[in-house]
């Protein structure tokens, strides 16, 4: 039930005049008044086969606009001292061994940062309201949403659109530029990884157009709250998993443009989905992830190569670890909170940790079958 009168006939709230049929949204309409935010409006991609029209990490010869916006806002908060620490002061090194895992010494590391963010920023129920934004005003960097023009544009200090992705600085970063990406819709709670959301996340990665930009998703965390939270950070060197050889599992170059491979010689059984066709990629990932969630399976997603490559790390409950591993850990990047741990980090120990959360051969085989049959049946 929409009550337009409450908005006092202001013409700048056209997006609120919609039927939503829920009391919740009626409350939320008025609470979004007065929230000003920087907005990045994505240009419209030509309808057709849904191809995003760019090659993986074309890394055009200049920094993209979205990259500038994100980095500038992050650097601004870092400079103003709104982050708990300067992550670039943390020492990193490559561990001896053939896997070339990377470890970081971060004595200020807060392994509960995600849970704390969830608790402080997101209410247990209800779509995003302006209370969310006001409480975290300093660290909300900007918002990404679909625009109406052909080319993308930046609008400073404007109204929050009815749906989009909030980009929020992580005060406990794992690397430079670590942000939360929180998809939202003022009218309803997000459904688990629906296609539109995945597409918007992929489009953001495509638009940032930086080979350093990595997007993460931990399904385990998302199961606990009603909100879907993605994260992203800049790793200028590829994560170790990106350098491992792959074995092809499925390829359909003509219809969907999807290639599925398995990562070889890696302690955690991993699949990689690649496609230049954004529509195909978001379709297949959404379906596979829904399927996994329906079966109660935990997994992590790593999006690289400017939104054209997605690593799927399925995880099982480990017998030696008390918590699931985060996505960058799946990728081979580990943070140690103590100098002792950092100095004594060894490839053997890390291999054991990763292997303990990995699927076994037969489960992985089933997963491959599942992915192939979803791919074959993919409706575009």
């Amino acid at each position: 039930m929409v009550s337009v009168e409450q908005v006092e006939g202001r013409t700048d709230y056209p997006f609120l005049r919609q039927n939503s049929g829920s009391d919740q949204s009626k409350d939320h309409q008025v609470t979004l008044k007065g929230v000003k935010i920087h907005l990045y409006k994505l240009g419209i991609i030509a309808k057709g086969n849904g191809a995003c029209g760019c090659f993986p990490c074309t890394a055009t010869d200049s920094q993209s606009l979205l990259d500038s916006v994100l980095l500038s806002q992050w650097e601004d908060r870092a400079w103003k001292g709104q982050l708990k620490y300067d992550v670039t002061t943390c020492q990193t090194k490559v561990i001896n061994g053939e896997k070339k895992f990377v470890v970081q010494l971060n004595e200020r590391w807060n392994s509960l940062f995600l849970e704390e963010f969830e608790n402080s920023f997101l209410q247990p129920l209800g779509p995003i309201s302006s209370n969310h934004i006001k409480s975290h005003k300093e660290n909300v960097l900007f918002c990404v949403s679909q625009g109406e023009k052909e080319s993308s544009e930046v609008v400073l200090s404007t109204m929050l659109p009815k749906d989009g992705i909030l980009i929020i600085a992580n005060a406990n970063p794992v690397e430079y530029g670590h942000v939360f990406l929180v998809p939202y819709n003022i009218n309803r709670l997000p459904l688990f990884l629906d296609k539109k959301m995945v597409e918007l996340i992929l489009r953001t990665a495509v638009e940032v157009n930086s080979s350093s930009f990595h997007v993460f998703f931990d399904s385990i965390i998302s199961n606990r709250s009603d909100h879907i939270i993605f994260q992203a950070s800049y790793f200028a060197n590829p994560l170790p998993v990106e350098l491992f050889p792959t074995v092809p599992v499925y390829a359909d170059t003509h219809r969907t443009g999807i290639h599925i491979c398995e990562v070889a010689d890696y302690p955690l059984k991993t699949l990689v989905f690649m496609s230049n066709n954004l529509n195909s990629l978001s379709n297949i990932i959404t379906e596979i992830c829904s399927n996994l969630r329906d079966h109660g399976s935990a997994f992590n997603l790593l999006i690289t190569d400017c939104g054209t490559k997605i690593f799927l790390f399925p995880q099982v409950q480990s017998v030696i670890m008390d918590r699931p591993i985060s996505t960058w850990e799946c990728g081979g990047y580990f943070v140690y909170g103590t100098k002792f741990g950092f100095d004594n980090a060894s490839e053997t120990e890390i291999l054991k940790r990763m292997a303990s959360v990995s699927l076994d051969d037969s489960s992985f085989q089933s997963l491959k079958h599942l992915c192939c049959s979803i791919a074959v049946n993919l409706f575009l």
């Binding site: 090659f55 916006v69 170059t253 049959s373 074959v376």
Partner: protein
């Protein structure tokens, strides 16, 4: 006008300034297809393409000069191979892989790509990358259908067994695709010994030509990194050069570990803004931009921030090479590498009178965007790749 023609000139002179004009003739005599690229120019462009290469791909010289090598990649090019090449560039080493490239008319073809860096003998810096591209002759794919079957084996069985999935139609479509002629080119072709030998020979010929002609200018090159850390300005790894080349704002990197904090990198936009050439600024402290109207208090503030390893934004009057002045909105920030130690300071300049930001960003955002990009790029360097050993 402006930085574009400067860049064009850099591309044109990239080889002749190092190896003398006669090198072009010598390279023209070599039959094999190859490219030479210059990582120090923004965009890592092609500075030379052999006649053999142009014949093989159907391009004209002017169509590839100044472009980046990715223009020869296409939809079916294996992304892993692209990444391997990128990694080899980043690590400044040789790479030899089979990769699918595209000719000007859009047809794909398999080549053996053999690339190696050329180092300056006196400072160990990578000056150019030479990439030989030997076409791989089509073999009877002994695999053909079976290979497709093997690749899709896992799914094919599943598809047949699971009656609920009405996908046999689609499955057949996929197999048909894999069998079609258009895809034959996309079957990975492995290079044989013959091709590998051809590539190695070609590289040697090019290398010896470059070495011979470099002696004429007195600035010798070699195929292996000889000495490093010579006198004068320390050199940046080519991967950092390439990353920094993507940043369009005016900025410089200075080295706090060398005496008098010299400039070790200057963006094209900085040179445009100040009117100096790259040779005129590298190795010098930024103070040459100051002049009679520069506020001494502001300079003290800058010094204080740097001493405290803090970032700062200041406004001061600076001077171009021709003596004209401009109000400079200057942001300075320490930049750390993978070891966590400060490797450089980045100084981003903006002429306050010019209204040239048309992308919707505020001047501060535009500057900080450059700072962030520099920090991401430098964070990838381990301390040994930095110009000198940090003392902290």
């Amino acid at each position: 006008m402006g930085s574009n023609s400067v860049r064009d000139r850099l591309v044109d002179q990239s080889l002749t300034s190092r190896y003398s004009q006669w090198v072009l003739e010598a390279l023209d005599e070599l039959e094999d297809p190859f490219l030479i690229t210059d990582p120090a120019i923004a965009g890592h462009p092609i500075v030379f393409a052999s006649r053999g290469f142009l014949a093989m791909t159907g391009y004209a010289f002017g169509e590839v000069l100044g472009r980046n090598g990715r223009i020869f990649q296409g939809p079916a090019t294996d992304r892993r191979s692209v990444m391997e090449i990128r990694e080899a560039i980043r690590e400044e080493r040789t790479v030899q892989i089979s990769i699918l490239n595209y000719r000007k008319d859009g047809t794909p073809h398999w080549i053996l790509f053999h690339m190696c860096p050329i180092f300056g003998a006196e400072d160990g810096r990578v000056l150019h990358f030479v990439a030989v591209q030997v076409p791989i002759s089509k073999r009877r794919s002994r695999c053909g259908v079976e290979r497709c079957g093997a690749v899709l084996g896992t799914c094919r069985e599943e598809v047949r067994l699971d009656k609920d999935l009405d996908c046999s139609h689609h499955a057949r479509e996929v197999f048909v695709d894999m069998d079609s002629r258009g895809l034959e080119a996309k079957e990975p072709q492995m290079a044989g010994d013959q091709e590998k030998e051809k590539a190695a020979n070609a590289i040697n010929c090019i290398l010896s030509a470059l070495n011979r002609y470099s002696k004429m200018t007195g600035r010798v090159v070699c195929g292996k990194r000889c000495g490093s850390a010579g006198s004068g300005v320390a050199s940046l790894p080519s991967s950092l050069n390439i990353s920094l080349g993507r940043i369009k704002q005016s900025f410089v990197l200075t080295d706090p570990h060398s005496p008098d904090m010299p400039i070790v990198y200057a963006s094209d936009a900085f040179l445009s803004l100040t009117g100096y050439s790259r040779q005129e600024v590298l190795g010098r402290n930024c103070r040459f931009l100051n002049g009679p109207g520069t506020d001494y208090e502001v300079l003290k503030e800058i010094k204080k921030s740097i001493h405290g390893q803090q970032s700062c934004t200041v406004r001061l009057l600076n001077y171009r090479k021709d003596g004209s002045s401009f109000r400079n909105l200057l942001h300075i920030s320490p930049v750390r590498n993978a070891s966590g130690k400060i490797a450089f300071y980045v100084c981003v300049q903006m002429d306050e009178s010019s209204k040239n930001i048309d992308n919707g960003l505020s001047p501060e955002m535009w500057q900080l965007g450059a700072v962030g990009a520099v920090k991401v790029a430098v964070r990838s360097l381990s301390s040994s790749a930095g110009p000198s050993r940090p003392s902290q």
